[in-house]
């Protein structure tokens, strides 16, 4: 009988060896770009030559300007408005589609459509739909006599609200899908018990449904928030950040700095600070959820 060969490494090392490929992949895919980002942010950097020399945090000066303050304000409205809209819309539609209504399968399939339309195409499509001269929406409203003159959906006062609505249209399907899946895990006997106890619809939702779907809702909201913050193409195509920076969100500011003004350093500085803020918020939200679960 052959002797059993002893492993060359300690069993305690085994878990680390198993996760090593993932760690290497993370270092290559995330670590290298992150290091580059830090290097570009702290130095004199341009898109043609990369880092060309240390510049004493000069790139971070832009973060203290009124222009960037306006960008932050616009981004917060975009983020809060977009995410809240997606959550509320997603919840309402998911609750409706969780009921045994005729054609439910068809409706569930239809609501996914905005999610699978590429953002760039959707932005171009919406730009045409709402255009004051050539747009279908104004034409329909005019013919119905609901308005006397075309509405300017992308004026300085309305552009941000308009792009938020388009963002809700794009993002709601993801929330609907995840919430429908979560709603199906709510035990029917508890709902029936609530009915027997005389709970109304709101009470059933507040005290039975919501606690059950809360973990899914939290994670989905976190994912939607991250995606909303990353959105670039929709706003770029619809408004290019205008009029007068009324829709200049952080992603557009980074693009503008790097590719329009050829200022890679300032673009990297904005990206680095945004990354740090998002990471802290994400970590805090996940920790809250873990504590609640515990």
């Amino acid at each position: 009988m052959d002797a059993v060969r002893r492993p060359r490494f300690s069993p305690r090392l085994a878990p680390y060896l198993f996760i090593l490929p993932t760690v290497v992949l993370f270092v290559v895919v995330l670590g290298v770009p992150l290091i580059n980002l830090v290097v570009y942010a702290v130095g004199d950097s341009n898109i043609y030559q990369g880092f060309t020399g240390w510049n004493s945090f000069e790139n971070f000066r832009y973060l203290a300007t009124s222009r960037f303050a306006k960008t932050i304000g616009v981004t917060l409205v975009w983020l809060v408005g977009g995410v809240a809209g997606i959550v509320v819309t997603g919840m309402i539609v998911a609750l409706a589609l969780n009921r045994p209504i005729p054609g439910r399968g068809l409706f569930r399939a239809l609501v996914i459509i905005p999610w699978v339309v590429p953002h760039a195409f959707a932005a171009a499509m919406w730009s045409w739909v709402i255009h004051p001269q050539f747009g279908m929406l104004n034409e329909v409203l005019l013919r119905l006599g609901l308005i006397a003159a075309p509405i300017s959906f992308l004026s300085a006062n309305t552009a941000l609200a308009t792009v938020i609505v388009v963002r809700i249209w794009q993002g709601a399907p993801f929330m609907i899908i995840t919430l429908i899946a979560a709603l199906q895990t709510v035990p029917s006997e508890i709902e029936e018990a609530a009915d027997l106890d005389g709970a109304n619809a709101w009470q059933k939702f507040r005290y039975v449904t919501l606690p059950h779907i809360l973990p899914v809702l939290m994670v989905s909201t976190l994912i939607i928030s991250a995606w909303t913050l990353q959105i670039f193409d929709t706003v770029y195509i619809m408004t290019n950040g205008g009029p007068s920076r009324a829709t200049q969100i952080v992603a557009l500011d980074i693009y503008s700095k790097v590719f329009v003004e050829s200022d890679l350093g300032s673009g990297a500085a904005i990206a680095l600070v945004t990354l740090a803020v998002v990471a802290i918020i994400g970590w805090w939200a996940l920790r809250q959820q873990e504590e609640r679960a515990a």
């Binding site: 004051p132 001269q133 300017s152 009029p243 329009v260």
Partner: protein, 428 residues
């Protein structure tokens, strides 16, 4: 022993590979400097490939016929991808041997040592044939980095039928700012069609170009001080002229279609074509959109109206050929560039949408249409361009949007433009 033999073999292979690479590199270098042996030039004209290939394929074929040792490989790049693709190519030193692009980007790359200085390398025949204002538009810090091969001036395009319907003489288009506002007002009153088509959706170069041209007409000269690389209107001494120009732009809004900030240049071209506005100030590219109506006389073109100076002076923006320093075959590249700029080849290129670049080219065009366009070039001034121009345009464009939406007075707009420009100048 076996391991040592393997290592030796590996070293031998590595040495042989290195030697091969070095010899290939040396051979390439020889081709580059001495042009001995076959050379392949890479060539890129930013734009729409389906339109550009029919223009350049015959030119390339003729060049290759005349230069059997040189092959030209035309590569495609759309404007939408240009900024990011260019930065990747520049960073990896793979820019094509001859490329068409805009001066702001080219000067930015030139400042970083990525573009060949063509001063003294071009034939006197070519440089004397290019209109002086255009040649100047390809220079930065006194060096010729770009050879202009496409250019635009600002022109007044108008609908003759709407002029007649309002009792205006289409043979006498407005020649001053006041006349233009009055004509627009009269057309609107008589026909219900807005007198002007105005655009300010893109916050950047397009609206800055309109402002720069109108300011040039206001002062009768260039809006750019090339000795300081700064806009003339940033000088406090020019405050009155700059404010008057901005006031005129604001007055135009009252005569234009509603929601001007939702319209880009392509939108207003459609409006003019469809008879939904009577006049639009735009570049020569408008001609493609209203080709048939220009031919039947429904649409016409005139010089932009004059400001206080009494002269119609447009800024001229250019695009052109440049040769990157990473080119392995600069001499062959210059030879090809010169070939692209021959009169017949430039005529073919101009058909893509440009004012005449060469005097010899302009001599072949006849009729009032071409006279108007050529005059706008001869009386025009080079648009101000420096490596940081995109940053300056971003400031101007945003402030002009605020002006045109009525959110800001001309004086405040000028103040904000200056403050924003000062921040850009301070970074130099």
């Amino acid at each position: 022993m076996n391991r040592i033999t393997r290592r030796r073999a590996a070293m031998l292979i590595a040495t042989a590979a290195t030697a091969t690479l070095v010899s290939v590199g040396a051979a390439g270098a020889q081709s580059a400097s001495g042009e001995a042996g076959p050379v392949t030039l890479t060539f890129m004209r930013t734009g729409t490939p389906s339109i550009l290939h029919p223009i350049f394929d015959p030119i390339i074929a003729e060049f290759e016929k005349q230069n059997p040792d040189i092959t030209v490989d035309m590569q495609d790049l759309g404007w939408a991808d240009a900024a990011t693709s260019l930065s990747v190519m520049a960073a990896s030193k793979t820019l094509p041997d001859v490329m068409y692009h805009l001066p702001g980007t080219v000067f930015d790359m030139a400042q970083k040592g990525l573009v060949l200085d063509l001063t003294g390398k071009l034939s006197a025949q070519l440089t004397s044939d290019i209109y002086p204002a255009l040649l100047k538009a390809g220079q930065y810090d006194g060096k010729q980095y770009l050879v202009p091969s496409g250019a635009s001036t600002l022109l007044l395009w108008y609908n003759a039928k709407l002029f007649e319907a309002a009792g205006l003489d289409p043979d006498a288009p407005p020649a001053t700012w006041d006349e233009m506002l009055a004509a627009a007002n009269k057309i609107h009153a008589a026909t219900g069609v807005p007198g002007l088509g105005l655009y300010s959706k893109p916050a950047g170069g397009e609206t800055s170009f309109v402002f720069e041209s109108l300011f040039a007409s206001q002062i009768g000269g260039s809006a750019w001080d090339s000795s300081k690389n700064a806009y003339v209107y940033d000088d406090p001494a020019q405050a009155d002229n700059a404010t008057a120009t901005l006031k005129f732009m604001q007055d135009m809004v009252a005569e234009a279609q509603p929601s001007v900030v939702e319209y880009g240049r392509f939108d207003t071209r459609t409006l003019l074509r469809d008879g939904k506005v009577a006049m639009v100030m735009d570049s020569v590219n408008m001609a493609v959109q209203i080709k048939d109506q220009l031919a039947d006389g429904t649409m016409r073109v005139a010089r932009i109206p004059a400001g206080a100076s009494g002269a119609s002076v447009s800024a001229i923006n250019v695009g052109g050929w440049y040769i990157p320093t990473n080119s392995q075959h600069p001499e062959a590249a210059i030879r090809f560039l010169e070939f692209l700029m021959t009169t017949q080849n430039q005529i073919a290129h101009t058909s893509y949408g440009s004012v005449p670049i060469l005097k010899s080219e302009a001599a072949t065009y006849t009729g009032d249409y071409w006279k108007t366009i050529t005059d706008s070039v001869t009386d025009g001034v080079a648009e101000g361009v420096a490596p940081d121009t995109p940053a300056l345009w971003a400031v101007t464009g945003e402030q002009l949007q605020a002006l045109l939406t009525g959110d800001q007075s001309p004086a405040d707009t000028l103040g904000n433009i200056r403050a924003g420009h000062d921040e850009v100048y301070d970074k130099r």
